[in-house]
Symmetry: C2
Subunit: 427 residues, 2 copies
Amino acid sequence: MSGPSSISFSALGARLQPPAVTALMAAALENPHVLSLAAGFTDTSTLPLREVGQVVADLAARDGRPEHLQYGTTLGRPGLRELLAARTATLDGLPAGAIPAAQTIVANGSQQILHAAAQVLCDAGDIVLVEQPTYFVFLDILAGLGARAVALPEHPDGSLDLAAISARLAALRAAGETRRIKAVYLQGYFANPSGASRTEAEKNGLATVLRDAGLIVPVIEDAAYRDLWFDEPWPARSVLALEAWREFPRLYLGTLTKPFASGLRVGYGHATDAAWFARLGWLKGHADFGTTNFNQAILERIVADRTLDDYLARTRPIYGGKRRRLHDALIHAGLRELGWSWIPPGGGLTMWVRGPRGLDTSTEAPLWRAAMEEGVLYVPGALCLAEPEAAGCVRLSFGVLNGAELDEAARRFTRAAARAGTAAVTG
Amino acid sequence: MSGPSSISFSALGARLQPPAVTALMAAALENPHVLSLAAGFTDTSTLPLREVGQVVADLAARDGRPEHLQYGTTLGRPGLRELLAARTATLDGLPAGAIPAAQTIVANGSQQILHAAAQVLCDAGDIVLVEQPTYFVFLDILAGLGARAVALPEHPDGSLDLAAISARLAALRAAGETRRIKAVYLQGYFANPSGASRTEAEKNGLATVLRDAGLIVPVIEDAAYRDLWFDEPWPARSVLALEAWREFPRLYLGTLTKPFASGLRVGYGHATDAAWFARLGWLKGHADFGTTNFNQAILERIVADRTLDDYLARTRPIYGGKRRRLHDALIHAGLRELGWSWIPPGGGLTMWVRGPRGLDTSTEAPLWRAAMEEGVLYVPGALCLAEPEAAGCVRLSFGVLNGAELDEAARRFTRAAARAGTAAVTG
């Protein structure tokens, strides 16, 4: 049915590229024995089969007129939006009602809101300030819009380098680019890929630097992994609650299903700016006029009756154990001795592992070829970077594999690193 | 949390407007006793509560490792895509495999694909050729993109006026607009709002007129209501199967859930052009990297074991009965005597009802005010029109209300029409 296309695409259509992970996934498919440290998924064996089945049965029993199988509204189920607004307010130590349900939107995963937020803010040539590293799909989204991701400089420990950020903003001003800066994108909690979280002092410092630069621009705090802590929640409040961000239009993104059941795909956003929020809803009206009502009804029950909290309490130790297992296995295999380093995260699903200075971790490099031969898949760090860095990094995910598989994947990765280190010296 | 926005939005963000139906919905909310002939929903009392509950229970029992609660892939579940490609091929009398599963995409409702298709084709100022009337949300989508909807002229009976279309295309060429024409959007089966279907001769004639004008442009056939026939399926094949359209890039849109359970939101598309199809997938990767896998797993079972076909066989007579009930009630109430006319559709959920020449049916008009006072809601025809028409039309939906409510709504609408007719003469 196909042939060469004669279609005249839009500017967006012409700019779109295959996702950055396409090559990785193809590589994985070619080798069925590969162990994947690449996919940022949860463990299928922990998924809440019983819980979801029970809720669906209860909905069927109670809802004689099954409105949960009917269309909902574009912004989401009113009851769920109330629960979500109250839940985030509690996490942020805010009084009940401080986050209005009326400015809460439910979506097919929080990424849908992230995509919409970027679309209503960014034209081609516009700039979004991002962490280094950052969520790689967001970099794809910005590239699709023709927008530029500009990195917020960080200290070697990953904390924000406020002086360098200030200098960077001054340089953008000198280049006449200030008006192109449309937003700041942060992951404050157990970020993908770094696993790092931001302190309140860091967030407040960033707000001050931005305000001093005259940049009262929208900020998006993506808190997708906030609920997925291992030993204790990250104590910092979000930009919704921090006084330093009060003047800024803010969008907070969360998900109910990433740490629960990704197959249900229910995310949400709270926006402080009425005009921005309205546009997210209007664009959602074009995209699908509302998230699957059935899934929202399931999640509404699961939040309301504390099934979600019980489930999270049971599964957090599992993911904490997986993180420890991968960390220990990498040390035991000798990766540190090869010049690699990492900060074990306190939550999330990913570790950001830094190789020897100058190491190429791309799919064109000896490390990748060695890893393919050993049978282990990683995400090359460059996919997560707005700007190149001297140190070659990789993202390793520990959510999917079981303990024995994590041990074996760590051994394979370390063998690949050893071979690539040799290749880099001799090649 | 809100105040006046200081945000500098993108061109898209600045163009976005509240959906056309916002005013209607607000009006409905203000009057709880209103009977709505506006919402194009199915009847909540017919929704497949038992069927969905059974499938979810079966999935839980059979799928010990619950992959249906895990992420799926961006394009959709392979098994479901196979079933959908085969199902459409059967409907179109094509051999098995004629529609490749590899060029089939699953989405959160077919509208998500429609939105994506428009985004990758249309820049501001571009043109899409549409039927008159057409699906009003698609007009919203085009307006958001800054694109222009240009009407395909029709005969008074609603069939395509090929000579007038040819003249229209010549006029666009004379105005230097040919290269701005990016797509043709058709609803071949029980269209929303007209309820009308297109014959193969009409579709083939349109292809010929386009080809003669040198316009081998993408065509989107939206077949959302193809399964919702009352007495017999509409016999015409889709553009996927018609030889006259072979040179054209084609996108066929269908939905599993509109006639089954809208709350599950699973739609699909088949594209013939590899480059166009790829971009739909890449954009879906930005929006949500895949439709809710849980819902796809449910629908895969429901299609595979013929639950969907059995359900459709049981519910078609219900919707056919509702259409007859509204039709009969409008006649009995005397609407025809007031100068109104309509063609009762053989499927779908909506009727296109034409008022006396020159009647204003907008929310600013006496008819709307009279309908509000009588307690009945309709969709003003202008919302569904790319270009104004002399005759004032309304869209009346019969999917939601029960028989007695349809009778009462028809009486209320007819009383409103009588009052508005008087007002138009005396006002």
